[in-house]
């Protein structure tokens, strides 16, 4: 009996371009995708359960293992939640240091995104150029806190150590020659017709639909919605730093590429401003050795490179949290994949996974 049946194919969980252990059940009609169903949970380590059985100092060690590409942003949002529970403020110098490190981590995270996104679409050299830049940033982060990826850099009430001498000099050196490198990526990709062909009008999503899906970060701003937590609800010292929030117009993969490139330039400007305005002074406030915040709850939101990082902490007066919920932006962004992928070709789902910039540790927690 002759008949055509849709080809069911498994993308992942062992697949070079799923940015981690993600499995997407694809239903193909020829080359076009009829239906896709992402399956997650392969990297679930129960960070929230650990959060409820470890005290506030120890749980921070687990936060940078969730979104291992934007470690300092995860540490920062968790520590801010603990500080708001305790009612403690970090001294101004520490706040500026946090902004500098968070923005460096954002650039590093965007570089990993650009590297893997370009490699999935075939531009091998961009992958290696991006990692060369990221290497310099990781050396800076290692110079400060001692680890490249699992940073554990922020402490409740400020920062444990000040910048080592010579650190600001090399940070400034990086910021000086970074624009030249960005221009190289642009000449290689931005106006390249093959790149345009592979990213224009792929995975288009309108502003309202993006908000309905709860998309945040570059994916939302590429659809034209102006929501950046650093501007909407400024934390640390972002209110004292002027920077620009790039928005897209069409909301396709090409816009998300342009928005993230522009964000890297803005992050560099933020770092330069923060380094100038950073006052001298202590880096740590008086904080009790055993952190026992008063009973209550708090939901703190930061702008991570992938979107809105949220921590919901409920404390019952003891030194371990009653409920510790990590809202992960990639978990929400990945949910939009089936709608974005419908009707595109198999090669596009690779570009779509790249443009959503998902990190499986952040999704599965």
């Amino acid at each position: 009996m002759l008949g055509t049946r849709e080809l069911e194919i498994n993308l992942g969980p062992q697949h070079p371009s799923t940015h981690g252990v993600l499995r997407v059940k694809l239903k193909l009609d020829g080359e076009t995708i009829v239906e896709s169903d992402p399956v997650i949970g392969y990297l679930h380590r129960g960070c929230e359960k650990l959060g409820e059985n470890r005290n506030y100092i120890q749980t921070e060690v687990y936060t940078d293992r969730m979104d291992y590409i934007a470690a300092i942003n995860e540490n920062l949002v968790y520590i801010e939640a603990v500080e708001r529970l305790l009612g403690v403020e970090a001294p101004p110098r520490a706040q500026y240091m946090r902004v500098i490190l968070a923005e460096f981590q954002r650039i590093a995270s965007h570089l990993v995104w650009l590297a893997t996104h370009a490699l999935d679409i075939g531009a091998m050299s961009v992958f290696l150029y991006c990692f060369r830049e990221r290497e310099e940033i990781l050396d800076l982060i290692e110079g400060y806190c001692g680890a490249r990826l699992t940073t554990n850099a922020v402490r409740t009430g400020g920062m444990r150590l000040d910048f080592p001498e010579g650190w600001l000099g090399s940070a400034k050196a990086f910021c000086d020659e970074f624009p030249v490198r960005l221009k190289e990526y642009d000449t290689l990709l931005k106006t390249n017709r093959i790149w345009m062909g592979r990213t224009k009008d792929i995975g288009v999503i309108t502003g309202e639909r993006a908000l309905a899906y709860g998309l945040t970060g570059p994916c939302l701003r590429a659809s034209g919605v102006n929501y950046d937590v650093r501007k909407a609800m400024p934390y640390e010292v972002y209110s004292e730093i002027e920077f620009d929030v790039p928005l897209g117009s069409v909301g396709d993969t090409y816009d998300r590429y342009l928005v993230r490139l522009e964000e890297m330039r803005q992050s560099r400007l933020i770092i330069l401003q923060a380094m100038e305005k950073m006052p001298q002074g202590p880096v740590m406030n008086k904080v009790p050795k055993r952190i026992k915040p008063p009973a209550g709850e708090v939901y703190v939101v930061n702008e991570g490179p992938r979107g809105e990082l949220g921590v919901y902490l409920v404390s019952d007066g003891t030194d371990t949290a009653a409920r510790c919920r990590f809202k992960s932006p990639c978990f929400v962004n990945l949910q939009a994949l089936p709608e974005l992928a419908k009707g595109h070709m198999v090669a596009d789902i690779v570009a779509l996974i790249g443009t959503l910039d998902i990190v499986l540790g952040c999704i599965d927690r």
Binding site: T59, G146, T187, T191, S249
Partner: protein, 160 residues
Amino acid sequence: MSVVQRPELSFWKKIFLVELFQGMAVTFTHWWRKPTTEQYPRERPKILPRFRGIPKLQDHADVPGILCIACNQCSIICPDDCITVHGEPRTEGKGKQAKLFILDYERCCLCGLCEEVCPTSPVPAIFMSHEYELARYKRVDLMNDMKELYDPQPTKEYLK
């Protein structure tokens, strides 16, 4: 907030593939730039002073005997419960010192909290060393007791 502008290829650029050649020029110029990779086993990476390798024990000249005072602060703070310490009265001077100190490398996540909370005076007894070659052939080697925690792990020179 500024809307990013989407460049359009002009007709002539499309015909004469200008931007493709620009792209090729970028890779061409990279040809003779100095390569940034290091040949790992022969060239050793430069370790920055604050690098957090595997925790190790250390002693200090002005404190006789074992520096660690077996106060168990590190084993309390450790998120993965890797450290077990048993104390004994100090041989010289008063107070306690560590009789048995087991650190389980297998579970250690190099977070550096133990070095922070260690209260010993001149230098923290347990400190984050600069060793990063942590592979062992047998799981049993990962449970290090005091003797192994003191001597730096020999880095065989890969001369091949």
